[in-house]
């Protein structure tokens, strides 16, 4: 019995290596120029304590999930502090570790809470609109809602960290389906997913502790993956490999940016998984990172990175358009 199970696993591993995995790097684009940094450790206005998630609105306003302070902070695209909302608690409008946020086409903010097991929706002034909970659906309660994305057509996807899955909701907010299940190596298996993106009609999943990126159809079929040996998720520090891939963002050209947490760098790929750029190293100088957790792309293509360990946001010029 044990042998046959191993055989099936080995066969699946070989199949995983042969199907749906992607190539590696060609010539890489030059690292984008560092433009600015803002934030410092603290709980005052504009200060940050363990920031984790980030989203940039269509007007350039930058929202940061300031998880250690249980609040959201808003900055102008130049880093000027604008406003903050939320404080520790479980009531609507309060937070228990807000980890990630996304903004829909109508400008509404969706905030995923690790400790609160919910997604709260706000307008951009921080007024509470509604809450989405797993226990109100056939999927059951979230166990640490770590990441969130709204598709261009308004469907909501939630990265359900400890349940190793993504929960999808229709435009009207009703439950749609569960995507992925717990496991390693094989396509569609997830291990502590932390962030989500959307590219070319595909859901992008930061399969963080499988050290890889996976793409799914909206119906939940795993179609593409990369990271480690042929997308197996083996951790590494070579180009195209990850040590905990915690954050993803997609630019207007469909390039996927990945926060490579324990490698202290950002890697950029085509939607087919080809590496096109890599920048950053460990440190606290401008352009260096101490465990970046998330990133987003502004309307002008600027790259905004949450530099978690340095309690700051760093801004980089847009990646050159030829890098595809």
């Amino acid at each position: 019995m044990r042998g046959s199970g191993f055989g099936r696993g080995l066969g699946a591993l070989v199949a995983a290596m042969l199907l749906g995995t992607t190539g590696c790097a060609g010539e890489l684009a030059p690292a984008p120029k560092h433009l600015a940094s803002w934030g410092k450790l603290g709980a005052g206005p504009g200060e940050l304590h363990q920031p984790i998630g980030i989203a940039v609105a269509a007007d350039g306003t930058v929202y940061v999930a300031d998880a250690g302070n249980d609040r959201i902070e808003a900055f102008s695209s130049e880093g000027e502090f604008l406003r903050t909302f939320g404080s520790r608690g479980q009531e609507p409008g309060n937070f228990r570790r807000p980890m990630d946020l996304d903004i829909d086409a109508k400008g509404r903010l969706y905030v995923a809470e690790h400790g609160g097991d919910r997604v709260q929706v706000f307008n951009q002034e921080g007024e509470f609109l509604r809450v989405i909970r797993g226990e109100d659906t056939p999927a059951g309660a979230f166990d640490a809602a770590a990441g969130v994305v709204v598709s261009p057509t308004g469907e909501l996807y939630v990265a359900d960290f400890y349940n190793d899955r993504v929960v999808a909701f229709r435009r009207d907010g009703t439950f749609d389906r569960v995507i992925g299940n717990s496991g390693r190596i094989l396509p569609g298996r997830l291990h502590y997913p932390t962030d989500l993106g959307w590219v070319d009609g595909r859901l992008v999943v930061a399969d963080a502790y499988n050290n890889r990126i996976q793409l799914f159809t909206p119906e939940g079929k795993a179609v593409t993956r990369w990271g480690g040996v042929l997308g197996s998720g083996l951790a590494g520090d070579g180009p195209g490999s990850f040590r905990v891939a915690t954050g993803v963002a997609v630019d207007a050209l469909g390039r996927i940016y990945v926060a490579d947490f324990e490698n202290h760098r950002i890697q950029v790929f085509t939607s087919a998984g080809k590496l096109v750029a890599l920048f950053g190293s460990q440190g606290d100088a401008p352009g260096q990172f101490e465990r970046p957790t998330d990133l987003d792309i502004g309307p002008d293509g600027r790259i905004y990175v949450v530099d978690f360990g340095n309690d700051r946001v760093q801004v980089f010029e847009p990646l050159s358009e030829g890098s595809q």
Partner: protein, 177 residues
């Protein structure tokens, strides 16, 4: 009198600072490999789910978590251990402050934690390895707790996997002066 105060400090047990019917008062947990905020806040979440845990403070880069408990908690070491394991980690170290009664145990003195099914063998460290608590220390603990009363003791928990773990009282700071 002065000698008694010094001895109390040396053994790490206190007679104040905890509500009368508290069981576990504070705990400090250590876990290995804690470097990511998703995991750190995950452990925090799982520990806050333990009935009786009031607050959790995470020291990410030190791999350390400091817990306080509700007054009438019935939390156990096993509850804490399970919560850490649910978060994907192993408990590497545990220090507790707990209120309880000093009783006779199979290996000398034991602490029956108030309001709880939890108990510990009591030990103290003389040199490298912990040894059963001495008759002198035991007598002193009993004196401090009084007739039917309880004391608050602090120490590190060893033999975590055993049905009755050992609480090694804090080192004799005052005695080393």
């Amino acid at each position: 009198m002065k000698k008694h105060v010094l001895l109390a400090l040396a053994l790490g047990f206190l007679l104040q600072g905890a509500p009368a019917n508290a069981a576990l008062v504070t705990a400090e947990l250590r876990v290995n490999g804690l470097s990511c905020p998703f995991c750190a806040f995950g452990i925090e979440k799982k520990l806050l789910d333990v009935e009786g845990v009031k607050d959790v403070e995470v020291f990410l880069d030190e791999g350390r978590l400091a817990l306080t408990f509700e007054t009438d908690n019935e939390a156990t070491v096993s509850d804490l251990q399970t919560a850490v394991e649910k978060a994907g980690f192993e408990l590497a170290g545990l220090e507790l402050k707990a209120r309880g009664k000093v009783i006779d145990g199979a290996n000398g003195g034991a602490l029956l934690v108030a309001n709880s099914r939890l108990s510990f063998d009591l030990a103290e460290r003389n040199g490298e390895s912990p040894q059963s608590v001495s008759a002198r220390t035991l007598a002193h603990l009993r004196t401090m707790s009084g007739e039917g009363g309880s004391v608050v003791v602090s120490g590190s928990v060893e033999a975590l996997g055993e049905s009755q773990p050992t609480l090694v009282l804090k080192p004799a700071e005052a005695e080393t002066r």
